[in-house]
């Protein structure tokens, strides 16, 4: 296996972009990433496009080829990837594999999503899934976890709310975030509409439009194009267990994916300088912090309260603002996590820069089946 670097990144602002078509958002992120990489479009050997809802919301299919051609990438293999919230990381894993295997030298990954369309239906993993037919919409699964976490570990609703306060404070320093310069208070989070106890409206990430892109290159070639390559130390995807005994207190997928990733990287949680995780709901970040090994199982609520996961803390989580602060354009989300990681390791993040950041970890998780996550990804980057 060859070593692989990220040599270029690009990202549109996340937010409401009613007037911008999906394809144009993806193309704009791709153009930025290609220019940032210092390559020509014609040097790209293979492309992966990540999206979840275009077939449903705007009736667009096989979108990646149009996105890529807008950025001058044609003829080469292009694959459209859907893996729910992990679509962008799943595409990154395939791009990594394409180069690591020695078959391709330079790959592009673009994730894009357009959710702000007229008449957005309630988004759910599958209209035909028995649990969805029996009422288990996305937020219910996470409320069930929150209820169980509070019961077993003494986590408080105030601690859960602190995740949003922290991530909105982080987002207030990120010009690309939906909530740039819009922090919130603990009282505001606790007092918004109750969606599913204990999750209030501000405990849930907002839908957003946006795109993010990465250019990957074999490490042996990257010095030709950039002086600031970021190394991919591990790019891991796992699926859930789906057996008859789902556990709502832990994310087994997180534990398994991160164990594999740490082992491949030759690193441990103590080596990570800064991390992004799938904070679709406040409870998610609390559990991810535990299950990725940053604090003991059950301690996530007290850990966020201690400030350990804030900018300046022991392990800053979601310094970009996370999904709660940036917004959640599904197919773009996991690419945007990696964009943040690359920029943190390059030291380009201004007010929200984590000083001396050397190792970055991105976790994402998507869709539910039988009480488990269908898909979970961990990417580890090193300066």
């Amino acid at each position: 296996m060859r070593s692989v670097d990220i040599i270029g990144v690009g990202m549109t602002p996340f937010g409401k972009h009613e007037k911008t078509p999906l394809v144009e958002m993806g193309t704009r992120a791709a153009i930025e990433a290609i220019k940032d990489a210092g390559i020509k479009s014609s040097q790209i050997n293979i492309g992966y496009f990540a999206n979840m809802q275009a077939g449903n919301l705007t009736k667009e299919f096989t979108v990646g080829q149009a996105v890529m051609w807008g950025a001058g990438v044609n003829k080469v293999p292009v694959f459209n990837i859907e893996n729910a919230c992990t679509s962008g990381a799943s595409a990154t894993t395939l791009a990594w594999m394409s180069i690591a295997s020695g078959q391709y030298d330079i790959a592009i990954v673009v994730g894009a999503e357009k959710l702000n369309v007229p008449f957005v239906p309630l988004l759910n993993p599958s209209m035909r899934d028995i649990n969805v037919l029996e009422g288990n919409v996305v937020i219910n699964g996470f409320a069930q976890r929150a209820v169980r976490h509070m019961h077993s570990f003494g986590t408080t609703k105030e601690q859960l709310a602190m995740v949003d306060v922290k991530n909105r404070r982080h987002a207030s320093m990120n010009p690309l975030a939906m909530f740039y310069k819009k922090p919130v208070t603990l009282e505001e989070v606790l007092n918004t509409t109750m969606m599913a106890d204990p999750l209030t409206k501000l405990s849930c990430c907002p839908n957003a439009d946006g795109a993010a892109a990465l250019v990957l290159c074999a490490s042996e070639l990257s010095s030709q194009y950039t002086t600031k390559p970021v190394h991919i130390k591990a790019s891991v995807l796992v699926s859930g267990v789906f057996d008859e005994w789902p556990d709502m207190e832990t994310f087994e997928e997180d534990q398994r994916a991160s164990r594999i990733a740490y082992e491949k990287a030759g690193l441990g949680p103590e080596d990570v300088s800064v991390a992004e995780c799938h904070d679709a709901f406040t409870i998610c970040e609390v559990m991810h912090t535990e299950n990725l090994g940053f604090c003991p199982i059950g301690e996530g609520g007290r850990f966020v309260e201690s400030g350990a996961t804030s900018l300046g803390g022991k392990i800053p989580m979601n310094v970009s603002g996370g999904l709660l602060g940036k917004g959640h354009p599904l197919g773009a989300t996991a690419c945007a996590q990696i964009v943040e990681g690359v920029r943190q390791l390059r030291g380009e993040c201004g007010d929200r820069q984590v000083e001396g950041a050397k190792v970055f970890l991105a976790e994402c998780m998507g869709a539910e089946l039988r009480g488990d996550a269908k898909t979970c990804t961990v990417n580890i980057l090193q300066k």
Partner: protein, 138 residues
């Protein structure tokens, strides 16, 4: 309950009385499943249909307070996971919409079937749900 109403999916439960969840058992792996899978996912052998226990204990729950228009669920409604007595299986299901405030972890519940919401065809349909047993808990 009207006998004209159909289950939200075929093959998931018997209306009864008494109502029953239609599970399955793999004789090779000695494992129970709900709902009945195409084959046993562990050995790809045939599974045998079985009735599952209609009593159990609440493992976790959620109360959705915003509208779920997809299948016209009541507002609010509770749902979550129940550990079925003696079956070594944790199943997801709705809780009694009339008794949302009584649901808590550890609560003893009993299976019911009744009209809740609409189905894939847009018509009112039957769903299974667990209702709290009297005594104990709230």
């Amino acid at each position: 309950m009207s006998s004209e109403l159909k289950p939200m999916l075929d093959g998931i439960f018997e209306v009864g009385p008494p109502p029953r969840l239609l599970g399955a058992h793999c004789p090779v792996c000695d494992q129970k499943f709900f709902p009945k899978p195409v084959v046993c996912p562990h050995c790809l052998g045939e599974v045998q249909g079985i009735d599952l226990s209609s009593e159990g204990t609440v493992y976790s729950y959620s109360i959705l307070r915003i509208p779920n228009m997809m299948y016209k669920f009541p507002q609010p409604y509770a749902s979550g996971y129940v550990d079925l007595d003696g079956d070594n299986i944790r199943v997801y299901g709705l809780f009694d919409p009339e008794k949302v405030s009584e649901i808590e972890i550890g609560k003893r519940v009993t299976l019911q079937v009744g009209q809740i919401g609409i189905g894939l065809d847009g018509k009112e349909c039957l769903r299974y749900y667990f209702t709290p047993q009297d005594g104990g808990g709230k």
